[in-house]
């Protein structure tokens, strides 16, 4: 047994044991989580370069096999690194006042995380997937009624995804005769000439599974509910890492099914032989539109939000839309862009959520309009949030720009211009809600309630600083991530792109990101010099503002009232109200659930009635007999 399986099993065991052994001293459970994250990071480092290493676990009825694949390792390494940073944060976050009991479940979830990325056959993948599903459900709905509503929504959608996955796995096995993931996908590629209908059916099933997990398409609504109610440090894990499992699944199984003839991924088979739009397979083109819709819709909804975690959750959904859009282009550039944006998103969204968790930790408040001025008391959290939103907006010099640029270049390469319009819209409009978060929570007026709060504790600050550094470094030197990604996708058969440590060659032009980063720095220095040249400035109180000669306190205005934050974008809300009322998948799901409950009640009532039950039984017998004899 190699490091892959031993690490997974030991971490799972540690998680289960810690729930029993440390149930009195819950803080130790969080230490176990931290240790597990450290262990997995070590595993990631030691597995680097050992490509194709396989391992198997004999469970009697069947053998689970694992492999250290190129892309799987990438996802594993990144998720382990980011989990480590989050677990450092959690050590400090879970003090006596805020502690939750979810650490053991989270530890098991880390093991499932590894399982998903290392799985080499569908059954192992399914086991890890389901394990991830129920542990995360219990973490999200950690015992509170409101959390439960969110959790069960997530769980139901997750179950739908699992049902689709089950159907897909066995259909694949029936068509190709194997459970091994890589081999079955290759075998499916050979079937395009004979059974395209079956392949589309499998693709749709897998798409349903992975879209449900990644909240794309009609499933966009669960992150807002789940993130808002989950424990605050878990929200960053949920948004940063868990939601990406669907993306991984798409790269693993759906995208390779559409490999173009002649590419390395289609070697040995005929490859995709169906319709294509500008060189993109039709199915993936449609997926791209669904992803674009997701990006736009989530952005519109995010701008309307008042709760900061829900807002950031919708932002995550929007970014997922971007990622899947890039994937759907089906070129090396697109896949590299998608993977790069996935990792960038892990980092900057992780930073944003950790910053929000810090604020919640100190203030206990989650609604944006009740906060304000946090930057004045918690500078590190402020900077983490600021850099995070700069990255999220895709502005240089942070890392979001490079990956967003690559997404657009990928779309250009296949001349998918009409798809770029929603992408641009989503990208631009993201400034709106990102800025709102910054202003409402960190700037503006500081409420006297929070005038004496302390800055973020040291461990939390360390975690946030690490992420900030990552954002900046990857922004100027994307090659640190992009070069391994490039070699991984090349080895996986998707082709490769031209990239160096600091520059990327795109379709319409190339950019040198280090240069951009330095130019910006230089400009800052220059302007600072200019600033110094001006006359000295003096400090005034926050409430001492321009109010045409009067003082707000004279009217009885308090800093909370003076802080403009509630319904920040009222014009936008008015503009988009009719749209949001008509297009609501949430209402659709709610209708399904409602009708189902009604059906359930009537069936239960029917089966409870005496005479109809007996009569029905008797008549059914007669009917069956007659039919059976006749037919």
């Amino acid at each position: 047994m190699s490091l892959m399986t031993t690490s997974m099993l030991s971490v799972m065991l540690a998680g289960l044991l810690s729930s029993i052994a440390f149930r009195k001293v819950k803080r130790l459970q969080w230490v176990v989580l931290f240790a597990a994250a450290v262990f997995f990071s070590y595993v990631a480092v030691s597995l680097y370069g050992k490509w194709g290493l396989t391992d198997s676990l004999n469970l009697g009825l069947f053998t689970a096999s694992f492999t250290n694949s190129y892309i799987g390792w990438l996802f594993f390494a990144f998720s382990s690194g980011v989990s480590l940073i989050i677990s450092i944060f959690s050590l400090s976050f879970n003090d006596k006042k805020h502690i939750t009991g979810v650490a053991p479940l989270w530890t098991v979830l880390l093991a499932a995380n590894a399982g998903i990325f290392f799985a080499a056959d569908w059954i192992a993948f399914l086991v890890a997937w389901e394990l991830m599903g129920w542990t995360s459900f219990f973490i999200i709905s950690h015992g509170k009624e409101k959390s439960f509503q969110a959790g069960i929504y997530y769980f139901a959608l997750s179950l739908i995804g699992t049902a689709a996955l089950l159907a897909a796995i066995f259909t694949i096995q029936g068509a190709t005769g194997t459970f091994a993931i890589a081999a079955s996908v290759k075998a499916l590629l050979a079937l395009w000439s004979t059974k395209p209908g079956l392949l589309y059916f499998i693709a749709i099933l897998l798409t349903v599974t992975f879209f449900a997990k990644s909240a794309a398409g009609p499933f966009y609504m669960w992150p807002a509910k789940a993130h808002a109610e989950a424990p605050d440090d878990f929200s960053s894990f949920l948004s940063g890492i868990m939601i990406k499992y669907g993306v991984y699944g798409l790269i693993l199984a759906v995208i390779p099914m559409f490999a173009e003839p002649g590419t390395a991924a289609a070697a040995g088979t005929a490859g995709y032989l169906g319709a294509a739009v500008h060189g993109t397979p039709l199915y993936l083109y449609i997926l791209g539109w669904v992803a674009a819709f997701t990006a736009v819709w989530a952005t519109i909804l995010a701008i309307r939000e008042n709760d900061m975690k829900r807002l950031m959750a919708y932002s995550t959904v929007s970014n997922i839309g971007f990622i899947i859009l890039a994937l759907s282009v089906n070129t090396a550039f697109g896949i590299a862009a998608a993977i790069f944006h996935t990792f960038n998103h892990m980092i900057f969204k992780g930073g944003i959520f950790l910053s929000l968790a810090s604020v919640k930790f100190r203030t206990g408040e989650r609604e944006m309009h009740k906060l304000g001025g946090m930057a004045y008391r918690m500078p590190i959290a402020f900077f983490a949030f600021l850099l995070g939103i700069i990255a999220a907006a895709g502005i240089p010099p942070m890392n979001g720009f490079a990956s967003k640029w690559m997404v657009f270049q990928a779309l250009f390469s296949h001349k998918l211009l009409f798809l770029m319009i929603p992408a641009f819209f989503a990208s631009t409009a993201s400034f709106m809600y990102l800025y709102r978060g910054l202003h409402s929570i960190y700037l503006g007026q500081l409420s006297p309630r929070f005038a004496k709060i302390k800055p973020a504790p040291p461990l939390q600050s360390i975690a946030m600083i690490l992420l900030m550094v990552a954002m900046y470094v990857l922004g100027g030197w994307p090659g640190f991530v992009l070069q391994p990604v490039n070699s991984a996708i090349a080895n996986a058969g998707f082709g490769s792109i031209q990239v160096s440590l600091g520059s990327i060659v795109g379709t319409t032009t190339s950019i040198h990101l280090t240069v951009v980063s330095f130019v910006f720095l230089f400009s800052v220095v220059g302007v600072f010099v200019l600033y110094i040249l001006g006359k000295r400035r003096s400090h005034v109180e926050a409430m001492d503002t321009y109010t045409a000669g009067e003082t707000p306190e004279d009217w009885g205005v308090t800093p909370e009232q003076y802080h403009y934050a509630y319904r920040f974008y009222e014009p936008w809300e008015k503009m988009t109200d009719p749209l949001v009322d008509t297009v609501s998948f949430e209402r659709w799901f709610e209708n399904i659930r409602h009708n189902f409950a009604r059906m359930s009640r009537s069936i239960a009532r029917w089966t409870a009635m005496k005479r109809p039950a007996t009569m029905l039984a008797a008549s059914a017998v007669v009917l069956i007999l007659i039919l059976g004899v006749l037919l």
């Binding site: 469970l59 509170k144 139901a156 159907a167 189902f596 359930s600 069936i603 059976g628 004899v629």
Partner: protein, 504 residues
Amino acid sequence: MNQAILLLLFPAAAALITPAGSALSERFGRGLALLSYIAGIVYGVVLYPQIAASPASVIVGNWKPPYGINLFVSPLSLGLVLLIYCVAIVILVSDFASNRKRRAQFYLLYSLLTMASVGLVLTADLFNMFVFLEIAGISTFALVAVGREGSGPAGSLRYLVLAQLTTLLMLAGIGLVYSATGVLNIASLSRFAALNPAVAFLAGLLILLPFFLEMKQFPFNGWIGGAYRGASPAIGATMSGLVTVSVAMVLARLLLTMMNTGSAFGDATTKIRTVVLVLGAATVLIGETAAFREKEIKRVLGYSSAGQMGMIAIGIAIASQSAVRGILFLLVSHTIAKVLLFLVAGTSARLSGSDRWDEMRGIARRFPLLGMLFAVGAMTLMGIPLFSGFWGKLDLIRAAIASGGLAVVGVVAVLIATVVEGVYFMKIAHAFFEAPAAAKSAPPESTKQHYGVAFLAPALVLAAATVILGVLPGLIDPWLSSATAELLHPASGYAAHIVTGGLQ
């Protein structure tokens, strides 16, 4: 060897001696019942290696089959008999914890029910099966009626009416078969000359009817609500855990071994199997849907049983290697999980004073173990990995997709049911774990309620069993293989052993 009939005799003896002994001591009944089951287990375990090597046919009354009655002791039947005994012990031990005053008659009836279940599993004769079924039905009816005043008798009465109706029709079917073939032995019928297809279909379906009822198949499941409401948790566990083992196995025996293309039922087999498949799919959907909004926890578990039995019926109807393995695994895991859930439900009802799960909120905060046990049982039924139900469901779905055709309808039903049962089980689990909304619902410390070892020990054993099976499913693999072979290939195993079984 004739000694194998001891397996039947232990509970029968317990049933007969109990009334007499109870005159002497109140606790006599329960002690004797337990003793008889333990004896049965010991004997069965001792017998198992011998049987695993070569299955044995026990002739009763020195009349050779196909004219006499015989019991067939094989790894499959012996394994299930052991399971039945274990479940019976578990249920009885947990019933001690419920603090109900049980009279001697209760233990008499219970032993009768156990004997009938064991008999159903072992017997190889149709009429014998009918007799055991009647005994099981009447004891169930009486045990359910022993429940709460009012709803107990009402629910059981409906069950009785439907049960009698269907067993009457079964008798008619048996009569038809007898008049057409002259034999009643299952093994003989499995290798008989084919009858007229219409007669075969009619007779076959009639014979299967009471088993549809017992397995809660639509449209014969109108009795579930009333019976489960009226029954005490122990009896609920019995109906869902004990009786279902025997009934499911008999259905498998009849549909797979007795009715196959080389048998007396010939081509009618496919038609009958289609009927079972359709009914099974409908049951899955209806059972799980009915459970969705149900607020009384015992009824939820009852409807959930209906759904699970529907899945087993689908698997039996598909009749392939994977399918049969799957349903056997499902049967074992369902039994363990359902009994566990009924134990938890009973204890929760007792501790919270209500039968409705929405009035049991927060009980897992006071008794975390209770909540976790419920979660374990629920996740087993949902088919979640790390718990035993996963493997059974996996095999079943694989078999259904591979078999194609109408079985795909079954798959869709099973998948929808998985989503639905996931949702309602998690709703209940969450209600258990919910943090109390306000201090007002904090339990007064003066009422020191607790559950005792009588509940805890069996529950932990069951939970451990399901987890172990879930993580190491290979443990029962040899049993599964031989059981599947026996069911699906009667010519080589079953029939061969019986028809050539000699006088002893």
